[in-house]
Symmetry: C2
């Protein structure tokens, strides 16, 4: 983005009038001269990760941080930049390829081996880098997501040392850092750093927008999504795709059931009712088992099938605790005893969650009572309005409660102070799911089992399902979109106030701005291929990508997306027998959901760092539990709503109940059998894993043999002591790494 | 066993009169001279594994086999010996330490690392042998079980080659071996080899007998058991020990319940009944979860926690199929398509098992009908006799059916032709458990739910539990014991017929013989320590250990032991509410069972090869399923036998059923919660695993750094290409391995 480079100085100059006319190369103002030693014409694409600081951060702190990072990784590029619009400082970080390789090794990042070693993924090792596929091309060896993750790892692995703690700025000394503590994580959690996030990559993002977000009727290009956004988001979209595809089943069966219900005989309807319950169990189980297989397949393909112990992971940046010597690593670490956490869980979290649940149940039943009462009021239009008011009220109140409880759950979960990201997330999911379940389903349970009113249940279900989907979509896409636009206009205003030339495109909304950003980066890259394009006037792009992206909402994680789908899954499976169209509604919603979630990721929200997960975690358990509950609920519905009684009128109430219980146990047995009968890992994945292991062992043996040959040939005394690397010539095209990781040949 | 060496020749000479007076060193008779090139005064303790051939095996075949093995492992000792008593040939196999190390590497045998590497188990690698604990002492580095397993692996890894197939004896050419096929497995499955088994080790066995079999009131010394018999048997005894300890719970609670039942009020009895059902669920779940934790702990301690893919395992020797090129290894292998196996399973196995189940159910209900009929016959003593006849009949018929079905199941399982030992075993367990469940419990279900007669149920349970335990113990220990004695006397007779000097101890039973064998080996070893003992006259030990052990019953696996306990577990959990003393009966039985199973292993049965397993496999699943069924059965008993009705007489039948169903679901929920709440792997094991991984990584990094230093120091060009082994001096005490594995310094 060559045309932007002068603009950086422009913005800087505008923000700091005394620098305005100076040559930035010699600009010494308040910033130290050292800050400008790096070549300023570094293209912006080279900025992989952006660190932004809160407004009013002392420049001494930024300089100290840069020095601390440079002490550990001298090759890491940290280019300072003033974010004119937000009047805050930032550091643009990127790393040369050799440093990236070292980071990949430290991260135990799995990379594809070359064909000679049988292909397949293996943790990257620098000493055997020649065995990895594509190592000869530094531009493409790492995916866009991996590049960001490695740079983040390099930044996060910078620990406080004797030298960096010798003369720290005032704000740092307040942190009480100890030698060996990760600096950046601490600064981030203490608010000295505002955000750390990876910047978008023009060409790749443009391709994603074209072939994924807008390719409404095409398969998702999930490999590219994973390469760009990481494994966790890839998993989410694959899961959503599979779920949507599976929803075709209940959609079709439910529609047929509805047609039968409208024109069929009563006996047939009742039979169809029983059949649908059976179908439901099989469908849920087969879907969840299919996902398990798919999940194992993806984890294998994406190299996350076997992961390391969580106890060796870095703690969450927000994790606090006393400093002690770790019994595992022998190094200093923060430690928070499990008993304290358990105490909090039992004395604070438990009661508060129970209270929140009780409040939700009370509200729900109050609304239901109101509805009963309202139903008896006379009147024509007013009655219609009053009749639907409680349902709509419920549809609005539930998301409001959700949002409030969400903040409570996050606060409680933060308070419980989990060490690893994974544990933190699993406990948060559990907290949210319990409440969501009660909040979303208690009114339905009330109608179904207390009022025992099938018509009311159907009306409720339809209202909830549809209002919820509308509210969720507003909350998810429209709201952040308008918030983003609001922020953007504020940015423009502040730029104006600073006296920048008013950009012609100022009134463009953020989407158009992003669109043009994506276009610009794309065409720019392609212009490097030879077809030179005329430079656009700098006034046309008042905000750089970095500034634009730093003003976007940070990615909140896959929580909300999964939660939304989990509740929908509940509507479809729990009461499907009462409202057979639920499947179709969900199917139609999800067709749109896939692309709107994709749209959100690409256009509205800050790019997230990739996370390497092996499956969808607690969500799978939650959905399996939902499948179990669905059996009980559906069978109870059958027992209550009377199809059994109509089919066999001679049955006594007692025997009917007995029949229902037996039917339930048969369904539970069927589910158990299906879970057992479908293997969790596909046969071909097992074959492939065995093949890879065999080839790696073979390669190892081959190498050992070659070494022996070398030993026989060589006559230099002492040389037989080592394991020789026979393929070392292959890697001669590789740049020589600097620093400690010097065992690359 | 120096005094036995001349005897080997004696026996040989007696069996082959033309060799009688010859010097065995020059004996050329029919056996080629080469057979005798190995030193004959090899002490018998050095025989680790014994291969015996069927009577009348051509000596050419034995010679061919030896040559084939020697081609691959020239250092493997294969000492031929004629088993005089059985008139068959045998080979005594053992390996030198360096070959053992190579075998351990091929087996990926986990061994303990030294303290510098953080301890813990790691797969043995020859090139890093100096990092392993105790490597400096070849006598103790491998446990007794490992020695046997490694020698077996070395033997089984001998594959047919061009040379060995060039001019095979007639019996071999009938096998249609292909190049690369394991020879010994094929010969074993085709009956050319009679048995391959490890010989007992005197001192260790003696210690086990003293401190384990006879130490009735002491803790089991399971680490020694595992070192001697392998991980799988160690797991069984640990499981049995835990189960027996846990049985204390139902023993005590059941006894208290009985006392309440005898002297308490009816209301209290009913409450206790409900309480016992609840206790039962908690007890079962906690027991199974505790075992899971214990199992993970043992697997960690014993180095089997992470095992390799079954697809890389050698197939079972009995596995047959067409020869094809493996897609995994690219080598020739036998292949049996899955669809054929599935065809057999659905068209043959399925119907036959259903038929067997039907037969069992029919017989059981016929006996129950008879009992009903008999109960109405008048008479005093005759009535008593007739009254108990059906129960005793059932107690006898069930084991008979079991035995017949066992052969059917094994035959069917063989027919289904599973590739790996593990799959074979899991499917066999499944087949057996289904039948066992029906066969053992159908009469009880009949009495409990069809007749609904609590008194009769109690009588049935007591009769089954007690007769079963007696019959099982007879089948398990007494029967093989007498069979062994019978075999032994036949051996003595045949020796007599051959004209050997009639041994004075001929009338000793096999137990005494074994006892003296253990004593002899023990004292002999200790005599090596300095205190010389007068040599016993050779006539005092007419049979060598090898001959004695080869005549013993081969170890049938842990099947029967687990099966017995599984059924007992069913009696205790399923109907415990009806017969509260079941727990106590089982507890008393198991106290004896532990030692009688130990006795069987040490005295009666051929020593088995150790098997490396990670848990108790399908049995855990079976028992968890039993726990589920137990909830349903117990709750149904409560609903039927009326305690609920008596506690709340105002409840209608319908509401009572509803209450029972709700109670059942609460119990199921409780079980689900307990399973979730108790982590499967203890925290300390996770910590320890993380610590080990950390230390290994650290050691690796340290090594890399040292290498870099060496690179800087060394000035020999080209030397910087290799990974240098800095600790190579440490291994100078190690003997240099021969053969391919030459990367030991």
């Amino acid at each position: 983005m060559e045309e932007e480079v002068p603009q950086v100085q422009d913005v800087l100059a505008e923000a700091k009038p005394h620098l305005r006319q100076k040559d930035p190369q010699s600009g010494s103002g308040v910033m130290s001269r050292k800050l400008w030693l790096r070549p300023v014409d570094l293209p912006e694409e080279n900025c992989v990760v952006l660190i932004t600081f809160p407004k009013g951060t002392a420049e001494g702190f930024v300089e100290w941080l840069r020095r601390a990072v440079r002490d550990v990784h001298p090759d890491l590029t940290l280019q300072p930049k003033l974010m004119a619009s937000a009047k805050c400082m930032s550091l643009k970080c990127s790393a040369p390829f050799t440093l990236m390789l070292k980071g990949a090794e430290e991260l135990c990042l799995p990379k594809k081996l070359n064909a000679e070693c049988g292909g397949g993924q293996w943790e990257f090792v620098m000493s055997h880098s020649h065995l990895f596929d594509g190592i000869e091309n530094p531009d493409t060896f790492f995916t866009s997501e991996e590049t960001g993750s490695i740079v983040r790892h390099l930044l996060y692995s910078v620990q406080a040392s004797e030298t960096s703690l010798k003369d720290p700025p005032e704000c740092v000394s307040r942190l009480s850092l100890f030698v060996g503590e990760p600096i950046l994580a601490k600064c981030l959690s203490e608010g000295l750093i505002d955000q750390i996030f990876p910047l978008h990559e023009g060409i790749a993002l443009k391709a994603l927008c074209k072939n994924w977000v807008k390719a409404f009727f095409h398969r998702q290009i999930l490999h590219d999504v994973k390469d760009y956004f990481g494994v966790k988001i890839g998993f989410y979209f694959r899961w959503l795709g599979l779920y949507t595809m599976f929803l075709l089943g209940p959609s079709i069966v439910g529609t047929i059931l509805l047609v039968i219900g409208m024109c069929g005989k009563e006996n047939m309807v009742d039979m169809a009712f029983l059949f649908y319950a059976l179908f439901n169990v099989i469908w849920t189980t087969v879907f969840l088992e299919t996902w398990k297989r798919k999940s194992a397949e993806l984890a294998f393909k994406w190299g996350t099938l076997d992961q390391r112990s969580g106890r060796l992971c870095q703690p969450r940046p927000q994790f606090t605790g006393e400093v002690r010597r770790s019994p595992i690593t022998g190094q200093k670490e923060r430690y928070y005893p499990a008993w304290k956490r358990n105490l909090i869980r039992f004395t604070i979290t438990g009661p508060m969650i129970v209270a929140a649940l009780a409040l939700s149940i009370l509200t729900n039943s109050a609304i239901c009572k109101m509805e009963e009462h309202v139903g008896s009021i006379e009147g024509t239009w007013g009655q219609w309005f009053l009749h639907h008011l409680p349902k709509v009220g419920l549809g609005i109140l539930i998301p409001v409660y959700d949002a409030l409880y969400y903040y409570l759950a996050v606060w409680l979960n933060d308070f419980e102070n989990y060490r690893t990201e994974e544990k933190y997330e699993n406990h948060l999911i559990f907290k949210l799911v319990v409440f969501q379940f009660v909040n979303s389903f208690s009114s339905l349970f009330y109608v179904a089992f207390y009022q025992q009113d099938l018509g009311s249940l159907q009306a409720h279900l339809a209202a909830l399902l549809i209002t919820r989907q509308i509210v969720d979509n507003v909350k998810e896409s429209a709201l952040p979109y308008f918030l983003g636009q609001f922020k953007l206009s504020r940015l423009h205003l502040s730029l104006k106030a600073l006296g920048s030339p008013s950009p012609s495109k100022e009134k463009k909304n953020i989407l158009q701005e992003n669109e043009s950003r994506i276009q610009a980066t794309g065409t720019e890259k392609s212009s490097e291929d030879g077809t030179a394009q005329p430079n656009k006037p700098p006034s046309g792009k008042a905000l750089s990508n970095a500034e634009l992206e730093s003003s976007m909402t940070p990615y909140p994680g896959t929580f909300d997306d999964y939660l939304e789908m989990f509740i929908q899954f509940g509507y479809v499976t729990l009461f499907s027998a009462a409202f057979p169209l639920a499947g179709l509604c969900a199917f139609l919603n999800n067709i749109v959901e896939i692309r709107s979630d994709a749209f959100k990721l690409c256009y509205i929200i800050q790019r997230p760092f990739g996370e390497r997960v092996r499956n969808i975690g607690t969500w799978q358990d939650c959905m399996e539990l939902m499948g179990l509950v669905a059996i009980v609920v559906n069978v109870t519905l059958i027992g209550q709503m009377g199809p059994l009684h109509r089919l066999a009128p001679s049955l006594s109430q007692h025997h009917a109940l007995l029949a229902v219980v037996v039917f339930e146990h048969l369904l539970l047995g069927l589910r158990w059998f299906l879970v057992r009968a479908i293997p969790d890992v596909p046969s071909w994945v097992k074959d492939e894993m065995a093949r890879l292991e065999f080839h790696r062992r073979e390669a190892f043996n081959r190498q050992s043999l070659l070494e022996e040959d070398k030993i026989l040939v060589s006559s230099i005394p002492g040389k037989h002591l080592g394991i020789q690397n026979p393929d070392s010539e292959d890697t001669s095209s590789l740049p020589h790494p600097s620093g400690k990781g010097n065992n690359l040949n």
